[in-house]
Every structure is written in structure tokens, then in C-alpha cells.
Subunit: 499 residues, 2 copies
Amino acid sequence: MLDKVIQKKTKKADVEESLNEMQARLIDLANAAKAAKIPVVITIDGWAAAGKGSQIAKLIKYMDPRFYNVEPIRRPNDAELRKPWMHRYWQRLPKQGDFLILDGSWYSDTVKSRMGGVIDKSGYEQRVRDINTLERQLHDDGYLIIKLFLHITQEEQRKRLKKLDENKFTSWRVDAHDFENNKRYDKIFRNFDRILEATNTASAPWNIIPANDGVTAQFEIMHIVTEAIKGACEAKEQGTEFRLTPSFPLTDYKPEKFTLVRTKKLSKIDMDKSLTEEEYRAKLKKYQKRLFELQNLCYRRKIPVIVAYEGWDAGGKGGNIKRLASAMDPRGYEVKPIAAPEPSELARHYLWRFWTRLENDGHFTIFDRTWYGRVMVEPIEGFTPKERADMAYNEINEFEKQLSDWGAVIFKFWINIDKDEQYRRFKERENTPSKQWKITDEDWRNREKWDEYEKAVDRMIKLTSTETAPWTVIEGNDKKYARIKALKTICDRLEKHLK
Amino acid sequence: MLDKVIQKKTKKADVEESLNEMQARLIDLANAAKAAKIPVVITIDGWAAAGKGSQIAKLIKYMDPRFYNVEPIRRPNDAELRKPWMHRYWQRLPKQGDFLILDGSWYSDTVKSRMGGVIDKSGYEQRVRDINTLERQLHDDGYLIIKLFLHITQEEQRKRLKKLDENKFTSWRVDAHDFENNKRYDKIFRNFDRILEATNTASAPWNIIPANDGVTAQFEIMHIVTEAIKGACEAKEQGTEFRLTPSFPLTDYKPEKFTLVRTKKLSKIDMDKSLTEEEYRAKLKKYQKRLFELQNLCYRRKIPVIVAYEGWDAGGKGGNIKRLASAMDPRGYEVKPIAAPEPSELARHYLWRFWTRLENDGHFTIFDRTWYGRVMVEPIEGFTPKERADMAYNEINEFEKQLSDWGAVIFKFWINIDKDEQYRRFKERENTPSKQWKITDEDWRNREKWDEYEKAVDRMIKLTSTETAPWTVIEGNDKKYARIKALKTICDRLEKHLK
């Protein structure tokens, strides 16, 4: 794609009027995006010394600074290195109506990592896939993604580096490394070109900006950004999907299809499994000891472990989690109770609040309720339209795949009880003063929708039991059995994994 | 204090029953704290190999893991080093009803920093003051702070280190450094003792646990923790303040009194200041250029800059901030619009949401509305009782002092307009379609309370204009004048500061 770019020279006077007009329009468009609740992500990448910083300054010059955030993307710091590589981008995700402008992005991040030997060929391919996934997921959620690549020639870059180096105010920004990179321009060119080609998708097509001349670049950027926001606002008003018009042939990108493992319907689960008190005591001791040792190994080998708990109300999640937690070194896990989302969470992609809750590698993150609310409570209670929720099966598989690529071992437990057992437990809660706070009218209301929930759970288990993140249905009528099964499942798979 | 500790030996059998009883009670007490919305912070500090980890494990063994979080405090990582030293503790602050248990804390953090030469004598004293401030602020906000120091003798420590070193599962936890530290036990003893003495305050008195014997330590910890939570819950129910009974004479701690600079009442401000369009253009250009250069210097010297904007509705904060922002490199500042707090924010100390919004050193953090809402809108609208809000003047001075000690240069702008000018602007907004979103019924309602607000603002300016963080009242009837005054104030003081 880069070889198609023609550098131009534009006289300031020729475009000044249009520029002023576009700048004025941008203010109104930013307000319109705010009103339409469209979150905007602009990634500005390109060659060193291509003028990213000054182009960003020109772009935002008249915008309301309360509603944008410019984030320079540099080498990840040591806190960021302990999370999945995409974590730092998710963390910075703007809320509806806000702008995130990235100076450098997942693109330069990936190219630098590959050329610097931080990732190998397959790591690179995985990252490209992650990028396409991210951009598609955000686009599908209503984000407007504008990708700009500032392209300059080798000669122009050399001249600019020299100029920066000779000015005492800017010389600190340039080092020998930059000049070396200028000499291997061709190699970097091929690397940039390759990633641009591979990520020119319908959700987020590329804009390559000829940037040898600053005025030309500014004009093109203003034009692209204003037109994109205008189009997105119009589409939102009309209730249609908005796609930017690509300038280059689109890459052949298709969302990953996941191999699913065979699962059983809930109605086919044998719910009579139980343990005697003595069996329970013995097994609890045994598996808790094993888990403690395994946790220590995971910590030392920096393996993240994700445990996702879902299940019927009164299914016994709390007690189950407790047996897990009490086996472990408390410095190495954290339990994340998931309640209704807060305003700042509702204003972002629904996966944001889970991405940002991930603990460091080497740690256990235990979710008490999870991202699966997206395909259960949300469509059933009408918080999310059914068609939108349906998209989540694959989005979730992709999310979990990225966790697995990070090195995480993922457990997903559905604690199953039958309808009679739930009734018994609800009644017991109502009749036990110290447990009354655990039972609300909402629990009874949810119970009325049992069949609808059961259908949703069956579907969820069927569509999201991937090889790296399979569901484990836990027979929960007997709490003792359920606790041991969770512990044993974790121990067995971790043991296998650590070998 | 440490020399008063008598190591004891307790037979497990003698206390087993009490321990079981206390453990059962702790479950109920944790639920009671949850119901009473009391946030609990337990700091567990002490000698290396004193058994902190295993005591924590015993403490939380039967607690609901959804409601506590155990955080090991190690050397700060590179992200943490770019914030005030207390930032990482504020960040971890539990919400009402939750427990935060720190394995190591601001105590070992400070002692290690001093002994390792990271801070000098005055830095040490400043940290001790910060600790007492933090604990008092949290206590005053209803936090229960339980501080435990696990004390072991030199000989016991040597034995334990040797044992850890000889076991292949634990040897990785011990290194030569630990054995060296064991040899300079006396010196560390003096350092620990000194900080314990200096921080034994009424808000958060010390508990020193003889920990040569694990059973003794466990028993004492369980006893202290259960009694403390019980007391806090009872006090909350009765609506009284709860103070733990100190085991040692309290230190002579008094909150810092701040020297205030002389200020003027709003009614004495000359509101006729203005600039012609030509003056404005010329000065804008001049100061924006200077600010750009100064920002660059701050970035390179890692000086954080905090700009806090307050002012009347329609005072022109937005446009003022914009002139500031558009002068700067957008990668080096962030504007934080402060709206009504979300549930997770309301469930914590009110300063939490400002601590956690601080940008890295070298960056500008610009607040559009601030922590001063605590002494204006909150008491006036009845969100916070007046007596509680009154405590905020000093809390805020302390907060800003800590920012200043971090190295921050702090600007606080009150953009002042008179009542007629506000009326004119409200009307203009109502009559301009593109500005109608900016004016709401609430603005008109607030306007009715003008006099009450003016009194509150006068008081706020009077009581929080400290030498390091003085208020600048900006005459805002003429927007041009106001913008230049903000820019000039920042440039002048930064220039002086950077010399």
C-alpha cells in the first residue's frame, strides 16, 4: 500500500480557507458525536519524525479538551508487561462521545516488537489477528475507528532527524538509533506495509497520509476526520451501520471460527451426585493442599489463571469460591464480584469492565459472575437487544482466546441445581435470619423465568465451550460434591498444564 | 515500643476453642461491617519471616473472599514511581463494607526507603506526617484501620530464614540480603521502633504482636481484629465515633496547620478588567508560546502540574481550559471533567476519585471542577452534612501539600463573573440553538442560591489559600481577559519554579 502513496506539496494559501472551514466544522462535529454518544478512536501511526505530534496538535487545536484524550504509546512499562498486550489499549478505551487519540498505537507496538525480536513470526500473526478482532469488536459496538498512517520518504526522514538533532530544544528527542533506523528504511517500509495490508478491514480501513509536506498532511487528515465523524453521526441518526470508504482493496479478514467441544444440555446432567461428609473432608484436604502447591508454581512461572463462576441463584457460588480461596495464598488471587454496571461502564464496550479487572500474570482472577451476563441476563431482561447479544458468543470466544494466548489457564464453571433444590434454598434463606439478606424479590422474579434462562444457558455452553476455555458444568445439588468438583477440575488441568 | 513486647508460647489445645469461636464470629462480624458499610483496612507489617503471609491466610480463611482483597506491598514499580508515593495506597482503598488487607504497607515501604537511602531525613519526616494524615483522614471518614506489627527476635528470625532456605519449595523466597539484614537486626529494630512510636495515633493506634510463637500471634490477631470490628459496628449503630483502645502511650500528633495567604472577598474584586481584541491576540500568542516551552521543560524535568478550575456556571471555564490546552503538546496533559460521583466513588473517601485521576509526573492534570465540590455544592445541596464538609478545608490543604511535596506546581482558578453577566450568558445560551445543551433547569436553580454560594466560595478561598497552593481569582466578565490571566499566571509561576 505504501508504494501507492504520492507525496504532494500544498501551498498554505490555497487551502487556508478550507482548513479554517473544516476546523470550525470539527468543533460542531465533535459536539454532534457527543450528542449521538459515538466514541471515537483515532490511531496516528507512521514513521519516526513524520510529524505525528504536530499533526495531532493541529487536529485537536479547536476541539474541547474535556472530551478528548491524547495518549502516547511507548514501550510497555513493567506493570503493562504483566497483562495481555491488548490490556493497555482496552484500559484507555474512551467512553461514548469522547475521543481517544493514540500517538503510536498497536501498530507501531507490533512492528517494533517483531523487528526487535520480542515476538516471533507466530506471535506476530497472533497480534495481527488480535488487532483485527479489536477493531471489529469496537466497530460492531458503535465505535468509530479512524486509522491514519503518516508516510514520509527516507530522504525526508533523514533531513528531519538532522534538523531535530541540531536544535538544542529538540535534540533530546533524537538518538543514534533513529539514524540507524533511517538507514534501514527499506526494511521498516516492508514491515509497515505488511501490517497495513493485513489490517485494512471493512471495520477500520487505512488512511495513508503523504506527510513529506505538513500542509498536505494536515489538509488530508482534517478532511478524513471530519468526513468520518459526519458519516458516523448521520448513520447513527438513521439507525444504519456506518462503514468508512476504503482507499485500498480490503484485506481478506474473517473473524476466527472456534472449534467447539461437545457439551450436554442441562436437562441431561445427572443431578444425583453427592459425597458423604467423610469423603468430602478427605478430598477437600487433599485438593486444597494440591491447589496451594499449584498456585505457588503458577506464581513462580507467571502463569495467569482465570476462574469464571456462573450458576443459578442460590447455586452455592459463594461457598464454592470460598473453598478455592481458602486453599490459596491470599496475596496471589483476587475475587471480583460482578454487579450491575456503573455509568462509566455502560458508556463503554461491555468487555471493558472485564479487561480492566484482570490481575497480573502469576495471579488468579476469580470472577463471581462474568461477561456471560451479556448472553443471559442482558437479553432476557431487555438490557441488550437479542441480535446484539447474539454477537457476543464469538466476541467472548475471541476474548478468552486472547487470555489464553497471554498464557492464562481458563476455568468456566456453571453451578447447576434443579428447580426444586433452588426452591428449598430460597425458603431456607427466608427462614434463617442471618441469611435473609441473600434473598430478594428479584430472585423470585428470576425464578419465574427459569425455562428461558435454561435455554440461554444451554446455548451459551454450546457456543462458548472452546478447546482453550471449555465450560465445566458442576452438579450442585450437593454442595460438597460441587466444591470438590471445582477444586479437582482446577488441580487436574493446572497439573497437566504445568508439565 | 518494641522493647515492651514479651514473647509467649501458647499451646494450641489451650486456645483452640476460643480460636474456633472467634473465627466463626469473624464471619458474622464481616457481614455486620458490610451491612453497616464500614470499610476496613488492616495493615500487617513486621520483620521478614515473621509469618505475615501465613497469619493473613489464617485470618481470612473463613471470610467471604468476595469482600476482601489482600495486597502485597513490594518495591514500587515504574508506573507507581511516577505518582505521589501515597498514590498506590489510595488506589487500593476498599469501598464501604469491604476489607483491604495489606501485607507490608506504608510502614515497611518508608523504613526500607529510609534505610536504603531512597529518602533523606526530611523525606522520612514528611512520610511519617503523610502516614498520620492518611490514617486520620480515613478514620474521620469512617474507615476502621487496624495496624498489626509482627515482632520476632533476632534469633527466631535467623532460625526461620535458615529453615526457609533449606526447603526446596521455599528457598526462592530467601536471599543473601535477608541474612545480612538479620545481622543488622538492632539497626532495623531502632528504625521500626521509631516509626511505630511516631505513628501511634488515636485514629489508628498500634498493635504489636509477639510472633515468635505462631499460635500466640494468631490468637492475638484474631482477638484484636474481632474486637475492633465489633466495636466499630456498635459505634456506628449508636452513631458515635469509634476509637480503638491504644496499647501504648499515644504519640503527640496534631494535624498540620497551614499558613494561609491573604485573600480578598469576591465582592471586593474589580470586575471591570478587560482586554481589546488586539491586546488579546498579541498576549495570547505570547503566553501560549511560553507555555509550550515551559510544558516541554516540565516534561523533561518530570515536574507534575495540577490546574484546578472552579467558577460560576457559565463563567467560561471551558473556553479558558481550551486556550490552555491548545497551547500545549497534547501528549503531555489531560483534562478531567468532574461530574457527579458514581456509586463506586461514593462508596469511598471523597478524595479517592481525585487521587486516582492524577497523571504521571511531567504531565499536566487539568481538573474541570474539583475536590472543592466538597465545600460548595455538597453541603449546599445537602449531599454532605455541613460539619463533615467543614473538615474538608484542612483535608484539602493536606492533599494539596502532598501533591506539592511530590513536586507538583498547583494552580487553582476561581473564574468569577457577576450576577448580571451570568444572566446575560444564560439567556444567550437559551437563545442560541447550538448552545442550548449547555443550559439546564439546574443552572437556574443554582443561580437562585447565588448568595449562599458566594459565601461558601469566600470561605473556601480564605481557608485553602496556602503558600504552595494559592487561589487565583480570575476576573471573568471579559473572557479574553480571563484567558490571558490564567495563561499568564501559569507561565509566570512555572518560570519562577523552574529557575
